[in-house]
Symmetry: D3
Subunit: 211 residues, 6 copies
Amino acid sequence: MIKPIFCIFSFTLFIFTCNAAVQDFCVADLTGPQGPAGYSCKSPSNVTANDFVFTGFRKAGNTTNLIKAAVSPAFDAQFPGVNGLGVSIARLDLAPAGVIPMHTHPGASEILIVVQGSIVTGFVSNANQVFVKKLLKGDVMVFPQGLLHFQINGGGSTAVAFASFSSANPGLQITDFALFGNTLPSMLVEKTTFLDDAQVKKLKAVLGGSG
Amino acid sequence: MIKPIFCIFSFTLFIFTCNAAVQDFCVADLTGPQGPAGYSCKSPSNVTANDFVFTGFRKAGNTTNLIKAAVSPAFDAQFPGVNGLGVSIARLDLAPAGVIPMHTHPGASEILIVVQGSIVTGFVSNANQVFVKKLLKGDVMVFPQGLLHFQINGGGSTAVAFASFSSANPGLQITDFALFGNTLPSMLVEKTTFLDDAQVKKLKAVLGGSG
Amino acid sequence: MIKPIFCIFSFTLFIFTCNAAVQDFCVADLTGPQGPAGYSCKSPSNVTANDFVFTGFRKAGNTTNLIKAAVSPAFDAQFPGVNGLGVSIARLDLAPAGVIPMHTHPGASEILIVVQGSIVTGFVSNANQVFVKKLLKGDVMVFPQGLLHFQINGGGSTAVAFASFSSANPGLQITDFALFGNTLPSMLVEKTTFLDDAQVKKLKAVLGGSG
Amino acid sequence: MIKPIFCIFSFTLFIFTCNAAVQDFCVADLTGPQGPAGYSCKSPSNVTANDFVFTGFRKAGNTTNLIKAAVSPAFDAQFPGVNGLGVSIARLDLAPAGVIPMHTHPGASEILIVVQGSIVTGFVSNANQVFVKKLLKGDVMVFPQGLLHFQINGGGSTAVAFASFSSANPGLQITDFALFGNTLPSMLVEKTTFLDDAQVKKLKAVLGGSG
Amino acid sequence: MIKPIFCIFSFTLFIFTCNAAVQDFCVADLTGPQGPAGYSCKSPSNVTANDFVFTGFRKAGNTTNLIKAAVSPAFDAQFPGVNGLGVSIARLDLAPAGVIPMHTHPGASEILIVVQGSIVTGFVSNANQVFVKKLLKGDVMVFPQGLLHFQINGGGSTAVAFASFSSANPGLQITDFALFGNTLPSMLVEKTTFLDDAQVKKLKAVLGGSG
Amino acid sequence: MIKPIFCIFSFTLFIFTCNAAVQDFCVADLTGPQGPAGYSCKSPSNVTANDFVFTGFRKAGNTTNLIKAAVSPAFDAQFPGVNGLGVSIARLDLAPAGVIPMHTHPGASEILIVVQGSIVTGFVSNANQVFVKKLLKGDVMVFPQGLLHFQINGGGSTAVAFASFSSANPGLQITDFALFGNTLPSMLVEKTTFLDDAQVKKLKAVLGGSG
């Protein structure tokens, strides 16, 4: 039979577990100093269940744009609860003909699940092999860290997918934006990509790049 | 203007990228030797797009059981393409009143997205704080590595969720099975959990434990 | 023969080693901001040998309680010198019939050495295999990260052991406390563990849980 | 005074250091099974100083090609001694007007040192900021993992640099090859990059791509 | 009330946990291929509780030698169960005046607990600060990875301590052996340490070095 | 044809990439709190290309000293841009007969490239094997983390090399300084190294040690 032991049992254990309280998670304090491992931790006394929940995916992303797609991230900056936990997630909405352009995630591998419609997706490996598949609802594809990949909705209805990552901050580098949407001089872009000047200038104009 | 440079350009780069072919992924060779970092790699010459795709979630898991729930994993053993990539995923189906019992993932953090219905879910921290929320469709919850957590469907319709992990093999330890579903002697279970003998014997009987 | 080179030799090397002074250790500043990797570092100018020494194990833990056991941790919160070094330690005292209840360390593997008496100890794997041994003085057992394990003193004299961990903050989740010693509603506990209501209510009463 | 202690001292220590012989390095056995952490280890009894030395950079790379540049890697596949050690290196030769085209290293950060001539180099961050500098002899630039970067020799003489990496296998993805030098269908390239069909077809022709 | 659910519950979960069986531990197969992460795993079907237990410390190490000390390791090569788990342990016995000479562990931090007698121990930091303490029974000292440290028994009775490490294979480099106990030519030793030729020759003679 | 999409495309993506701006690098704020993972990050709005460039190697190090050598580091403290990126670099200048004395880098592996002259260099393994080679211009040697190594210029002209590391702060422990250049009492040094008192006192005198 068990006798009341709470106070004694807890005396030894509960105290140091209080001390340890902060380290099984580290909800981001977005205003505090950052370091290579992530954001500083919010005070544990201010942490609630809501810190571990993200409700920003209840509505579809807005795909009424020219790429007919939207990416809605829940990385550490949007979802402070993931800070330091090695995971994050994003929602992808692709209207028919929608495209998530060529991009990489420098900081993480990605695992994608299609929950509605179908998506043509794939990546290119370091050895320049191409791996492309059409995914149906329920299908999963995995993308190794840092490799170029894309998604396209070739179907007749909206496609929705969720992409999870092996980091709280996987990063995102969209090739077009990196080449044409910033101050990188056209001449440099052309020399390093062999693209024609007309092509570069054209995309810089539409993507807001200069130089 | 660009002149044909393929052969020369590639001469320098393509050869060593071939050598490097195997290292941006390591599709599991389930028959080869395993090490602490995972399975040995399947020969790159045998790797196709299908190795990076898992189609096992097209159908719902079978919830016509007494917990009214199913967990369908796509860890490295089921989805060899995730080997070494630091991610994996599982599908959860919960019929009304369905339950994924108390469990932990010793090897990974988890990020869960509800795609149908609603789920009451939560975890207990090292400091014994309880974080429980009811998630609606589109909601996400994150669970730090190794902490006890659960899912329950308190709604009137089937709930479906996908759980992604920060490891190709997050592991799974279901508390009930670990206590009552194996050869651990009842006396040891009782001493280390303060559960009554009757309770332990009862659950051992139903969960197939002995001792 | 060697001529005096201290000033010159040191001119090049000693200066940058001063700059580097803080990085081979990072004694915890328990008052500073925390991040996912641990506590901020105490100023190196304030660090002494005492920061790397923990003397809290000179006396036995107090086992005059109902579990007849005590766990005395030297994790980062108690022993700031281990911060960032990937190690920590705890002292276990078990009087005859003493028990360290079922628990996990979400953040680390454990290696246990018995220095006095004998201890029956073991763990349950993800595959639900049970590994239990009686350890004599001098014996060591290793416990993989995050798996349920326990210690019992079945001998006639006090047992003492030291458990070292592969993290400065291994965490500790005691199953009984996680299930019965907090605000988790009884109904939720019962649904997720199949324990009887009477059993849950009983243990909640003794362990100070509510709900 | 010291008395001969070799045999006794060594008896305790030398034997287990023999057992430990293999683990402070793991020279790649290029014929053995690979895993996520790298190649299997060559037998220590066959390891010599030559395994830790790479002499392939004695001669300049051949820059008499249309990009007027050469990259000579010493990654694990070329330099088995680096296997598992978290470092590797490559030699870059750029004749006047030579270019190392836009590329990423998915697996590592890079630190580049110019040893001859001058190089204009830079990278684009996730936030689309451009960081470009002209480096003179002796200058160093660091490139965070996975981000797009390039090198150009705008000077009148050959430039030589060495790039070291934080991995034995940093990987290499050259944007042009990934987009135009493989079987990725032109239509897919155009949809995911907004490049004109004429541009894509032209570069596919020169880079050996198809589709 | 709970109805029998074993077969159905287990149908979903038990099968994949079997598949996952090998990954929560990886008992070393000392005959199989090694990789950077450690030894290959012994087949799970051959794993027993004994694989996780080391009984080699039941007897004191033999200190009847000229350093009056013994180090008995339980690293992966001696204790295969620790393979891949990030921990290991060693037993230190020091008779009065016994010495564990200056050494480093390149692969791990160390945490030392004195269980008998007293030990004077300390380390030197990168910044050349010296941290030395006399430890009594029950005292703990932590040593950051790779730094020079030592132990001395200045007391009148045998001292015993256990050193745990943050790696299954911490490595061990004893300064004297590295300088004088191998084939490194005396001239090289003298040039790189400024030690006198007579000193070097003397220690080479006693430690079995040549050259 | 492509229509202007910058504003819409960017609306979704550019905003969160701004949020993510700080995480693909973390230029050290040398005045902010440090943690185990490195320095706090400088505000991204203050980061320029110059933060990623180090120009301190334009001039040779000053080798007019008694070891006829110089080591010029660009670790995180000198080159804040490498903070958190897992790389750093140092320049070595050795005049004829110049010596970089026996030392270790506790925190990183090293990869060395000779760019001028020749260098005799090597390391000692845990198993006490000696690996020494004479490197010519263009040759590379790799040194596993934490192992004793050295460089000597046995040639008739100045040698220059660059050493890169697998950490932003590899650390540096020079054996002579650790033994003779600090407050470690001579008696302790002698007991733990078996060096003669005369030798120890002599080197302490020249290296500025006391005790």
